[in-house]
Symmetry: C2
Subunit: 455 residues, 2 copies
C-alpha cells in the first residue's frame, strides 16, 4: 500500500522527529519542568498541524495541557480516538543512566531516552502512521481524533474532567491506546484485560499512649502483634486469601483460556531468577502467569508501627498501620471486596484492641472481547506488520485511563502496546528497540485500514 | 534519735536546697545543656563537701562527670555505696507543662519539676539523710561511698568503665539505689526483682527490588506478609509465647509468692482504665500484675516495610523488619532465649523468603533475696519512717545499672524507691509528693543505723 513506501522513505526523518520530542524533559511530576511539559505539548501540536491533522490545539487543564487534533472526513466510517501521553517519569537515580536521559542515544539497536518506551515512542508510532496515510493517500481510511495528555505519570487527574468538558473532541467508536508492553521481544501483544483494584488502610490502636514494655509488657495487647495476626489471618500461607467471600464472584478461567495462557512465552524459573527471589510463591493450583493476570490478590503495600530508629526502644506501641491493595478480576466488584476485607478485619480483631478500616480508591477490572471487530482488526494489522500472530493477554496491572474511557465513553479500547519487556520504563536506561518502532508504524497505519474494512 | 530532730528542724532549708538543684536544666541527652550538666555536678560536689563528706570530687568520664564522695571512719562496719543520678530527661513537649520544668512549683502538696522524682528528689533524700547523721551525730553509723552519675538518662555508657577504673571509690558491701517507684501513694516499696532483656532485629527479604503489585502480584511472596505470619506464629492469641523452649527455664512462682503479689495494691479494672485499652490482655492463667513482673514477654517494639506515605503505592515491598525485645525472668538466660527466637523465625520462614536475625543487647534478670540482712534493714527503716509495712515487689522493667553493680561488684543492691506511681517521670508535669520526700529522708537515715545493727 502507498503508506508502506512512505514509511520506508521517511524512516530517517521520523527517527529524527522522535528524537526532538525525546529531548524535551517533560517531567510532569516536577514543577521546575512545567515549561518543558508545555513545550512538548506545543511541539506535538505543531507536528500534528504539519502532517495535515485539523483543529490541532493545546488545551489547558488545571495542570498540564492536553493536545488534541482530528480528521473527520469519512462520513459513515468509524471514528478512532488515539490516546497517548507526552509527559514522562522523573529520571532519578540519574547516576545509573549510561547516557543522559534527554540525549537520545542508539546502542545495540535500541533507542535510549526517558520516554522512549513510555510513552513518546509509542505516541509517535501512531502519529507517524497518520502522517504516512495523510501524505501518501491524501486522507485517512477512518475518522480520527487524537488526545495526548501531559499528566499520565501523575495519575491523569485532569483527564476525566477534560473528557466531560470536551466530549466533541473525544467521542469515538473505538479508542486506540499504545502504552503497554509486548510479552516477548518481537511478539506483538494486545492487552485484552486488566485487573481492578481496591485499596484499604488499616489502623489498629490499643492504649492511650505508647507504653513502657518493662512496666506494662504482659498486661496489654501490642497493636503490632494484633496487626500481624490480622494480616496473617487473611492468607493461607503465602497463597489463597481467606477473607470470606473473596473469590465468590471470580470468573474461573475456561480450559481454553488456561491453555492460551500456558502457551504464552516465559517460564517460571527465568522469572524467579529475574526477580531474585529464592522461590516463587502464590495461590496453589495456578501458574505464576495465571496468578498475575486472571487471579485476584491481596497485598500489603506497607505496614508500620512503633520504633524504627537505630538501636533499641523498649516500647509497646499504641498503634500499628497497614496499607492494602487487592487486585481484582472479572466479576469482582471493588466495593464488595473492600467491605468483605473490612468485615474480616473487624471480626478477627481481639477485644483488647480496636481496628479501623478506611476504604480508599478503587478501579473495576477491565476485559475486552477478543472476538470484537476492533480487536480482530488489530490482530490482522499486527500479524501483517510483524509477520507473526500477536499474543492476546490479560495483564495484571490496572491502567486508570482505560477504565476512564470504558466508563465515560462506553466504547471498546484496543490496547496495542509496543514497549519491550525489558524497557525499563520508570527506571534508568529506558529504551525502545528501533526495529519495533519501525514495524509498529506499519501496524498502526494498517490498523486504520483494517478498521475501515470492518469484519 | 538525734537525726530526727535535725531533719524536722532543717526541713525548710532542705526543700530550698532541693529546689536549687532542680533549677539546673541538666539534660544529659542535649549537647546544648552540657554546661548545665557540669554545673549540677559541681553543685552536688559542693553540697557533699559542705555536709562533711570527704574526698568529694567531680570526676570526668568520656561524656558527663560522676560525683563521688566518701566517709569511711567505721572500721568493721559495713560500707554502703549510695548510687543516684543528677541528669534528667528532656522536657518536650514543653507546652504540656503546667509550670516551667526548671522552676520548681508546689501544687496540692506536690513539688513539680523535671527531675523531682527521677532522680534529683530521691538523690537529695539520701544525701540529706547523710547530712542529718553527720551534723547531729558527728558521724555516720556505717561507712558510706557516694556515686551520683550524669548519664543515666542516656543509658549510663560511662558507668561500667568508671566502676572498673575507680574501684576504690565504689567497692562496698551493699548498694543503695533510690530510683524506683512506690506501688501506691504512701506505700513504701522495695523492688526485689527486675526482668532481664534480650533484643533482636528481624529482617525479611524477598526480591532484588520492590515490585509492581499489578505485574507481579500473585507470583512472589510479600515480605510484609511473611513477617506478619512469623510474628503471629510466635504467640497464641495475645498470650502464651509459642517459641519452643521459651518457658523452659522460667521459675514458676510459689503459691506464697502468688499470694503476696495478689495482696499488692492495684486492681485490673483501674489499670485498664488508666491505660485506655478496651481490655487487658496477656498470657492466660496469670494476673496482670504477675504477667508484668514474674512472667516473661516477647514484644514487637517496632515493625515496618513498604510504603508509609500518604495515599496509595501499589508496590510489593522487598523487605520488612521488626524489632523485638523479650523481658526475661529468673532463670532465663538472654543468650539462650535470643537463640531460641532466632531458630523459631528461621524454621518458620517459607522457602520463598529469606529471614535474617540480628541479636542485640541483653540483660540478665535480677532478683534479690528478700530475707537478706540489707533488705531486712530496709524493711525495718521504711516501716519505722512511714508507719506501714513496705511492699516487696518484683518489677517488670530492667535497670541496667542494677545489673552492672550486681555483675561488677557482686554485692546486694537495695532498691528503696520513693517516686509516686503517677510521678510522670520522662513526661510533662513530673512531680514528687512533698510528704513522701520528707518521710523518705527519715527512712534513709534510719536505714544506715539498721545496717549498722545488722540482724
Amino acid at each position: 500500500m502507498a503508506f508502506d513506501a512512505y514509511l520506508n522513505e521517511h524512516e530517517e526523518r521520523h527517527l529524527h522527529d522522535l528524537n526532538r520530542l525525546l529531548e524535551i524533559p517533560s517531567i510532569s511530576a516536577l514543577s521546575e519542568h512545567k515549561e518543558d511539559v508545555a513545550r512538548a505539548a506545543r511541539w506535538l501540536c505543531e507536528y500534528l498541524e504539519s502532517i495535515g491533522m485539523e483543529e490541532a490545539a493545546v488545551l489547558p487543564t488545571a495542570k498540564h495541557p492536553v493536545v488534541c487534533a482530528e480528521w473527520l472526513h469519512r462520513p459513515g466510517a468509524p471514528t478512532v480516538l488515539i490516546y497517548g501521553h507526552y509527559d514522562v517519569q522523573p529520571v532519578d537515580p540519574i547516576a545509573l543512566w549510561t547516557s543522559p536521559p534527554f540525549a537520545p542515544a542508539v546502542r545495540d539497536g535500541k533507542l535510549y531516552a526517558r520516554g522512549s518506551a513510555d510513552d513518546k515512542g509509542q505516541v509517535m508510532v501512531n502519529l507517524q502512521a497518520l502522517e504516512a496515510l495523510l501524505q501518501s493517500e491524501g486522507g485517512l481510511p477512518v475518522n480520527v481524533k487524537v488526545l495526548i495528555e501531559g499528566e499520565e505519570e501523575i495519575g491523569s487527574p485532569s483527564l476525566e474532567p477534560f473528557i466531560n468538558e470536551h466530549r466533541g473532541r473525544v467521542e469515538a467508536d473505538v479508542v486506540l491506546i499504545s502504552d503497554t508492553s509486548m510479552l516477548a521481544d518481537g511478539l506483538p501483544t494486545i492487552c485484552c484485560g486488566l485487573r481492578g483494584l481496591c485499596g484499604l488502610e488499616v489502623h489498629v490502636t490499643t492504649a492511650a499512649t505508647d507504653l513502657h514494655s518493662g512496666i506494662y509488657g504482659g498486661a496489654v495487647a501490642n497493636p503490632t502483634h494484633v496487626l500481624a495476626s490480622l494480616l496473617a489471618s487473611m492468607r493461607e500461607g503465602q497463597g489463597r486469601i481467606l477473607v470470606p467471600g473473596f473469590y465468590d464472584d471470580v470468573l474461573e478461567p475456561s480450559a481454553q483460556e488456561r491453555a492460551q495462557i500456558a502457551a504464552l512465552p516465559g517460564d517460571e524459573e527465568s522469572l524467579r531468577r529475574r526477580l531474585g527471589v529464592p522461590a516463587l510463591d502464590g495461590e496453589p493450583g495456578y501458574s505464576a502467569m495465571e496468578r498475575t493476570s486472571i487471579r485476584p490478590t491481596l497485598e500489603v503495600n506497607g505496614m508500620w508501627g512503633g520504633f524504627q530508629g537505630e538501636g533499641t526502644k523498649t516500647v509497646i506501641p499504641n498503634e500499628a498501620h497497614a496499607k492494602i491493595t487487592c487486585r481484582l478480576v472479572p466479576n469482582q466488584d471493588p466495593a464488595v471486596i473492600a467491605k468483605a476485607v473490612a468485615k474480616h478485619l473487624h471480626d478477627a480483631c481481639p477485644p483488647s484492641a480496636r481496628v479501623e478500616v478506611e476504604i480508599g480508591h478503587s478501579a473495576y477490572p477491565w476485559r475486552c472481547d477478543p472476538a470484537s471487530t476492533p480487536i480482530r482488526a488489530a490482530i490482522r494489522s499486527l500479524e501483517s506488520a510483524f509477520g507473526t500472530t500477536p499474543a492476546l493477554a490479560r495483564l495484571g496491572g490496572s491502567i486508570p485511563v482505560v477504565e476512564s474511557f470504558d466508563r465515560l465513553l462506553q466504547v471498546p479500547c484496543v490496547l496495542m502496546g509496543f514497549a519491550a519487556p525489558d524497557a525499563n520504563a520508570h527506571a534508568p536506561d529506558e529504551s525502545f528497540p528501533i526495529e519495533t518502532w519501525r514495524t509498529a508504524r506499519f501496524a498502526s497505519a494498517r490498523f486504520l485500514h483494517e478498521l475501515a474494512k470492518g469484519d
